[in-house]
Amino acid sequence: MMSQHDPNRGRRDGPPDLDELFRRLNQRLARLLGAKPPQGGGDAPEPAPALALKGSLLAAGGVALALWLVSGFYVVDAREQGVVLRMGSFDRMTDAGLQWHFPYPFERAEIVTLTEVRSVEIGYRGSAQNRVPEESLMLTEDQNIIDVQLSAQYDVKDARAFLFNNLAADSDAKDIVKQAGETAIREVVGKNNVDFVLNEGRGQIAVDTQRAMQLILDRYGLGVRIAKVNINDVQPPAPVQAAFDDAIKAGQDKDKLRNEGLAYANEVIPKAKGLAARLTAEADGYRQRVVATAEGDAARFRQVLPEYNKAPVVTRNRLYFEMMQQVLSNTSKIVVDQKKGSGNILYLPLNQLLDVSKPGVSLPGAGPAVPPAEKTGPEAANAGEARSGREVTRGRELGGR
């Protein structure tokens, strides 16, 4: 602990009126010494040189006394607190301002800075890159090694306790706070498992460490308040960093896979719903169509039926011929007049017959009844009907309506 005792504090050089001051001091000293009368302390007038000598001696004594008294002055800053010890034991606290204590050896003042926030670093020095592995590596509850860097901010809450209870290596007691921090963080980390420490637990660990440090330091009566503990960095140690990173990546992969599944679902299900809607709509369309068709057909039939009932034969024939005309006019026809009982097998090269668009196809005779079909290429208007004078005819000539 540094003593603020400084005998030269507040000393002023050359007061303006030395003579005046000395004279007054002399009077006071004379009065003071009056209690213990000096030998030969008569007031007999003395010769001038002797008087001068006496005066200067008294003056010297006075100056010494004044200096001694002045040495009791000390200044306490707004951020500081003074602690005054009287004859070695605590006497009083003093606040900001110009203060005075009885000079040495009766009293002395010590000054403690209160508001300044001090901080200690555990696991690193200055910057995170500058690691101190023997401080930062510690074991978790599940016996994993982990690398933690933290800092603690603290200030003095009780100047008296701060001064008197602990012997610290430096004036801010940083060593003591740091020891508490080291033991506290390891205790806290040792009670949690690695995943908690690495991930969601950082805030909690800082809080628990702060509490543990405060408890330890209060037990020592250090008189400080741990304002904040920062877990600056928590990492797996370098040799296993890759494995930990991969585990984190695996978590992301899991999400990715899941999202791919969801993407598939989001594609398939709406499509199915769309298809279902289409089926439903089509079914509805079908229903309306068949009903409408039925209604149409039924209506038509109802119209026709009375007419038919009036003249059944005529109507039937008419319908039949209309049908035949329409059918025969639109299709390819081969009329074969086969004598009953003729033993000839009729051969019709159908695939050639169907290939009506090719000009000049000659059909091999399959019997007397089938002469080669003559193609009429140029007569496109006849729509490629195969005509063979006798057997092939055109429905149109059979008189329509």
Partner: protein, 293 residues
């Protein structure tokens, strides 16, 4: 006048003498007054004290809490015969300065090394009873408490109180650290594999569920569609039956005509006809008489 100089000199001498014989005992200290190496007085209270100058001298001992911080971690064996590196610090203070002075001869370094030895023995004994798991997590407090109590009992003999014994590092030595790292790596791999397979499984579940939903949706849609179509068919059938039932025979004829028209209507349909049907009745014979064969 002639007496003044002697007075001044006397005063100065007196002050000098006073400063040599006066000393202040701070409340943070004990003071021991020696005369020719012998302890004359032990001062435990703060205050201004006198000593005979040049004959007696004073030694001060700190009464504040002091720290022994083991600079180098020590190797201890746990119950399962594993080595752990342990680093601790001790908080102690002098409570009985006479005892302290007598036992260590005022040599604080000797006191410190003795305390260290005591603490070490205590830790060794305690660690031998505990597993690694106990000392890093569960029973740190108990270990520290037990060691503190034993060390305190011993330290009282030299006038010292042990206030606290605290563990800082409890780590594995490098050799074991390597195997710990291996284990950590394999644990992480396990976790990673598990996460990935969980992801795959979940994705598969989601896909399968999507497929299921698709099947169900389509099947239900088909069901409903068929139902609707059936409704249509039924309505249509009813309409037909109602209308056509009036003359089924004619309907058959009429409908057949429609069907023929619809069925044969392009050049691809080849009809091979015999000209003796009703249609060709007049084709060969304008009288329409059927040839009798």
């Amino acid at each position: 006048m002639d007496k003044l100089i002697p007075i001044a000199v006397g005063a100065v001498l007196a002050l000098l003498l006073l400063s040599l014989s006066l000393f202040t005992v701070d409340q943070r200290q004990y003071a021991v007054v020696f005369q020719f190496g012998e302890v004359i007085r032990v001062l435990k209270e703060p205050g201004i004290q006198f000593k005979i100058p040049l004959v007696q001298n004073v030694r001060f001992f700190d009464r504040r809490i002091q720290t022994i911080d083991a600079e180098t971690p020590e190797l201890f064996n746990t119950r399962e015969k594993k080595n752990v590196l342990v680093d601790s610090f001790v908080k102690w203070r002098v409570v009985d300065v006479e005892q302290f002075y007598k036992s260590v001869g005022g040599n604080e370094a000797a006191a410190v090394s003795r305390l260290k030895q005591t603490i070490n023995d205590g830790l060794r004994a305690e660690f031998g009873k505990k597993t690694v798991a106990d000392v890093i997590s569960g029973q740190r407090e108990q270990v520290m408490e037990v060691v503190k109590r034993r060390a305190d009992a011993d330290a009282r003999k030299i006038g010292v109180q042990i206030l606290d014994v605290r563990l800082k590092r409890v780590d594995f030595p490098d050799k074991i650290s390597t195997s710990v790292y291996d284990r950590m790596q394999s644990e992480r791999r396990t976790v990673a594999n598990q996460l990935r397979s969980e992801g795959s499984a979940e994705a598969e579940r989601i896909r399968a569920d999507a497929d299921r939903q698709r099947e169900v949706t389509l099947a239900e849609a088909y069901r409903d569609a068929q139902r609707v179509k059936g409704e249509g068919d039924a309505r249509a059938a009813a309409i037909y039956a109602e209308a056509l039932g009036k003359n089924p025979e004619f309907y058959a004829f009429w409908r057949s005509m429609e069907a023929y028209k619809q069925s044969f209507k392009d050049k691809g349909d080849v009809l091979v006809l015999e000209p003796n049907s009703e249609f060709f009745r007049y084709f060969q014979n304008p009288q329409g008489a059927q040839k009798s064969k």
